[in-house]
């Protein structure tokens, strides 16, 4: 099957300094791929290049088989940028922030009844339905991340691209995020996620791509062989009964 995202020989620069030096990366439908690596290895730049937020200086990027230059079906993709907060300079309710995701379908038209239903559904999926009318700045760090994920889920995307969703989130909230993500994976959503440590997400990961110096250093295909030095040790404390079996069937 056609990959949902493919980077081949991608190079990119930030402020004249080469950051990606020929990255090859492919995510198939329903696959969960983690991007790992030390600071400055090009993890975030890779995903920002993948959503066309950083211009490529070389190589090719395809989304759902279409060269990115001609790609217009942004509603097929849910993006969770690296943010510590979902709040802006003016108060906004959880519902208002999440509704912004629906503009991938609506464009410049106003939102309607179907959009409101999709927002309710997305909030349900991340377990924040009861907080819909609350201001986002009253939420905890983990809840902010769930708001950002709900915003990406409003279009029922086939691919989720997430940049460090676990950064600054305590372990309890990390487990809730892992549950949310597992539901998406069970629905067949493909995921490309930048992580500093695997943490509670480890059981979901099909493949880990380790970057170093703007290149792919190694690719680990099976969860049991995932690089231990990038794993989060607290996951050892997880109750094995709540950890689902590895979803290898999706491969």
């Amino acid at each position: 099957m056609e990959p949902v995202i493919s980077l081949s020989g991608v190079t990119a620069e930030l402020g004249g300094r080469p950051v990606l030096r020929g990255v090859d990366l492919t995510v198939g439908p329903g696959e969960v791929v983690a991007l790992l690596g030390p600071n400055g290895s090009g993890k975030s730049t890779s995903v920002r290049a993948a959503v066309s937020q950083i211009p490529l200086t070389g190589g090719e990027l395809r989304l759902f088989g279409t060269p990115v230059r001609r790609f217009r079906a942004w509603q097929r993709l849910g993006y969770v940028p690296q943010r510590s907060t979902a709040a802006g300079g003016v108060p906004a309710t959880v519902r208002e922030v999440v509704a912004a995701g629906r503009l991938a379908r609506r464009g410049l038209r106003p939102l309607g009844r179907a959009d409101r239903a999709a927002v309710r559904d997305a909030l349900d999926q991340v377990g924040l339905a009861d907080r819909a009318g609350d201001p986002v700045d009253s939420l905890s760090g983990g809840q902010h991340q769930r708001v950002l994920i709900a915003r990406a889920l409003t279009t029922a995307p086939e691919l989720l691209i997430m940049d460090e969703p676990l950064a600054g989130v305590d372990l309890a909230s990390q487990r809730i995020l892992a549950d949310t993500l597992r539901e998406q994976v069970e629905r067949g959503v493909a995921v490309l996620v930048v992580l500093h440590e695997l943490g509670p997400l480890e059981p979901l990961i099909d493949r880990a791509v380790v970057l170093s110096g703007g290149r792919v250093e190694r690719v680990v295909e099976h969860s049991s062989e995932l690089p231990a030095d990038h794993a989060c040790h607290p996951h050892d404390e997880l109750d094995p009964s709540v950890v689902p079996p590895l979803q290898t069937g999706i491969l």
Binding site: P81, L111, P135
Partner: protein, 289 residues
């Protein structure tokens, strides 16, 4: 009936004040959301060059100010979005260039002096002409169409620009439209409030409203309500007390802000306690086996 309504110049001033009271916070809310509260001031300074050019070329100063401030606002947006200069530095350059350009050009105009600029700098109720009212109505209609009609889109762009781009929104076009709308608002407001105080009416009603509100839509509605309240009451007060309208409007707005800040403090404490209790409840639920 109020005596103030008997005079045609006051009727025009109040019409202008009403439209400004609605339009200024409706655009200002997006600038505050993007933490660019001072952008209106930058545009105001550039508009001064436009007013002076109007005198020099014997053209209508209001439309000339619209033209020049749109060019300035678009240039500022392009500098900001290209990331070539820091936003505050680009803004500073605009302040200096606009003010110096205005003073220089007005002195080049035949018989012109900085005295001609005074009513534009500080506003005046008795200088709003019938042709000004037409210009103000056209510009306010445009401003309101953009700021209410594209509310969701502008909210998304000002809340998280990168995410908005990935949803496929025409972010650059929306940013330019917002810059043009802000420029139109400044020129709408300059006749009554004055260029130096225009930005206050874009910012103070919004920050006053957001102390009481929880969401964006309610903040937008309440800040427009506050904008109308302070601009109308300020204009009427300036007539009776014979004081400049711009300064009166801004001082009333600041008074309203202080009043709400004092009244809302207990409310925000209560909300903070409720939020902390909510977060604690959630972590207990998560921690429970």
């Amino acid at each position: 009936m109020l005596e103030v309504l008997d005079y045609p110049f006051m009727q025009r001033a109040l019409q202008a004040a009403l439209l400004i009271g609605i339009a200024a916070p409706a655009v200002g809310i997006y600038l505050v959301q993007r933490r660019q509260a001072l952008m209106g001031d930058g545009i105001g300074h550039v508009a001064l060059t436009g007013v002076a050019l109007g005198f020099l070329l014997s053209a209508n100063p209001v439309w000339m100010a619209v033209l020049v401030s749109v060019v300035g606002a678009v240039a500022m947006e392009l500098v900001r979005s290209s990331g070539r200069a820091r936003g505050d530095i680009a803004l500073a350059m605009l302040f200096y260039g606009g003010m110096a350009g205005g003073v220089m050009i007005i002195n080049l105009a035949p018989g012109g002096s900085t005295a001609n600029l005074t009513t534009y700098l500080f506003g005046s109720v008795n200088t709003v002409s019938p042709s000004d009212i037409t210009a103000i109505m056209i510009l306010s209609a445009f401003v309101l169409l953009v700021s209410f009609g594209l509310r969701r889109q502008l909210f998304s762009v000002c809340q998280d620009e990168e995410f908005a781009r990935v949803t496929g929104l025409p972010v650059r076009a929306l940013n330019l439209l917002l810059a043009v709308t802000a420029a139109a608002t400044v020129t709408v407001a300059m006749r009554v409030v004055g260029l130096l105080l225009v930005s206050a009416l874009m910012v103070i009603p919004v920050v006053a409203a957001q102390q009481l509100t929880r969401g964006f839509a309610t903040t937008l509605g309440l800040s427009v309500g506050f904008g109308v309240l302070v601009s109308l009451s300020g204009t009427v007060t300036s007539y009776y007390a014979d004081v400049p309208p711009g300064a009166t409007i801004v001082l009333i707005a600041l008074g309203l802000f202080a009043l709400i800040a004092a009244a809302a403090a207990p409310l925000s404490h209560r909300r903070a306690r409720a939020a902390a209790a909510g977060a604690a409840r959630e972590s207990e639920v998560v921690a429970a086996p």
